[in-house]
Symmetry: C2
Subunit: 350 residues, 2 copies
């Protein structure tokens, strides 16, 4: 398939739009609808699991503005999906819309969702991919690697002081970060399929690990509450709850935890602590993003946010990079700062 200059420009815009989304179990995707002369009619992007896909978002945006997309071209950074997940298949929505042509960047390698281009072609829509495919894949390389490895995407979350402490020397930690930061973290919990903590955190803090709404009520969609480690979780521990959505995985190996969570249907897990559990995922290279709520506060001693990385010397330092997705790499949340990082490949020193 040949692509016009307007389609190339639209794909670049769609890639920028994609970056406004939220990393997680679903990929970052952006979409731009062009009229036959190459002018932009509408745009959309995917805001995260459970929300409209980018194509549906762009179509809704056009509909809301009363714009007719009959005969238009949909430019989208990922092959439209062909399955009914939490939202309907995009291929069908595109066929219904009157869109005449679909240009996508990367093919969808998720076996559940693939086949969208074929469905479009079968429905009489011209569909072809490969335009800026590398750029699109780069956006979602960690997500693709997780899916290819049949494991959940892993978000590691900390709530720490500027000097990297998650609790004071006596174990107290309420509250390092502000109510605003804790509410923001609840937004993350409502978005993931599972939250994970170690038995040490369960013993020390007895957290519920439920997802709550901004008003404090229990959210409708609850993540699976997973605890890793061998220490028995007491019968009266809050994390057990009463809804049956609790599991203890008796291992210290993050890979084993992820395999079991994947088997439970979990595609996105948030590691909530403590530092030993977070460190185990980081050391194993199994952390796909890092969200560090950082309070402008100092403790000078106490629990470290990351332990057991096994790094003795600078040559082995773990380098990450700031990730602008999900709202930005350094975003004020109340009096705190939400820092967002993605890993860069670790290069073994020569």
């Amino acid at each position: 398939m040949n692509f016009s200059d307007a389609e190339r420009a639209a794909m670049e815009q769609a890639l920028q739009l994609a970056r406004r989304g939220v990393r997680g179990a679903n990929p970052l995707v952006g979409a731009v609808i062009l009229d036959p002369s190459g002018d932009v009619l509408a745009t959309g992007f995917h805001r995260g699991a459970g929300t409209a896909h980018a194509e549906a978002d762009a179509l809704a945006s056009a509909a809301a503005a009363g714009i007719d997309v009959d005969g238009a071209t949909m430019v989208v950074t990922l092959e439209p999906c062909n399955h009914t997940g939490r939202t309907g298949p995009c291929s069908q929505a595109i066929l219904r819309s009157g869109i005449a042509r679909v240009v996508y960047a990367a093919a969808d390698t998720n076996e559940d969702a693939a086949g969208g281009a074929a469905a479009l072609t079968a429905g009489g829509v011209e569909a072809g991919g490969g335009l800026l495919a590398d750029e699109s894949r780069k956006l979602n390389s960690r997500w693709a690697a997780a899916m290819a490895g049949r494991r959940p995407f892993v978000t590691v979350k900390t709530a720490q002081t500027l000097d990297g402490r998650t609790a004071a020397a006596d174990g107290t930690s309420q509250w390092i970060t502000s109510p605003e930061a804790r509410a923001d973290a609840q937004d993350l919990r409502r978005r993931v399929d599972a939250v994970l903590a170690g038995t040490g955190t369960i013993q020390a803090d007895n957290p519920r690990l439920t997802a709550r709404n901004p008003d404090g009520s229990t959210a409708e969609k609850q993540p699976l509450r997973a605890v890793m480690g061998h220490t028995p979780v007491p019968a009266e521990a809050a994390v057990r709850g009463t809804d049956g959505r609790f599991v203890q995985i008796r291992t210290h190996d993050p890979a084993v935890v992820l395999a079991e969570l994947y088997a439970h249907g979990v595609r996105h897990v948030m590691v909530e602590g403590g530092g030993t559990v977070a460190g185990a995922f980081l050391r194993a290279g199994l952390a796909d993003e890092l969200v560090a709520y950082t309070a402008p506060a100092l403790l000078g001693a106490g629990t470290a946010a990351f332990a057991g990385l096994g790094i003795a010397s600078m040559a082995r330092i773990q380098r990450w990079r700031w990730d602008p997705a999900g709202g930005g790499s350094a975003v004020p949340v109340g009096p705190d700062l939400r820092l967002h990082l993605e890993p860069i490949p670790f290069e073994e020193p020569e």
Copy 2:
């Protein structure tokens, strides 16, 4: 003195301009020049020690634009100075300019610089203060407290990982932060009167502590190189240099160090490490700002950026707040982030 609505609005603008400056031995000051009908002719602010004062900056800006300020009103957040320091007295520059009226917020309490309003009045310029004086004083309260206490303003600088480490477990630390961040830190060194390190840092890293230009050459203005602690500094230590601008202060008490530095004429000192020295200043409440160059990297172990704060429990956590002065509270510098904080008063728990 009565103030017009235009003057009040101009003072609010001047306060905003002031915040664009750099904290340090000189206060944050902004200035706005109004024509007799209350329209803004020019604005200025103070960019830090050794650069033009806000009034001079505004006058230069007007001159550069070919704007006549004869008969105009100068609205400035601090009483114009009356002494020749690194720059000439603002009172004289204002008298020469033809400005007819000067409205300031706070009086200058620096005994060396005070008397500007009287000089202006004697020169035939209407001058009066007190407009939004509290807001202006709040901008510079730490600076004013330092000067009132006859001690230097203290900047504590760290170069750390996201998890608050300044060196790996084996003591290696080159380089946690990027060349860009280290060049940015050299900008700070060129601005201060002294840099301070502990004897431990001297032994571990043998730093020169000189100020370098962006091209790596030695800067013309060199800060005093101060070392605190009892361990003798070896004759061959790089910090001694050959220019005589080296001093060792044999104490662990930050207050004693500051008194001695003040006696040496130091009005702004940057504490460069290590964590024990930084912690001593923080614990004593003698840190006026914190600049944390933070690399998106993790070590999981090693030297803590702040030690010996004496905090055992959350009730004693040191709360700071992000400081937007000096370019911003979270500024990307190369691949790193420069975080800028100012203290908020510590409230003793009941």
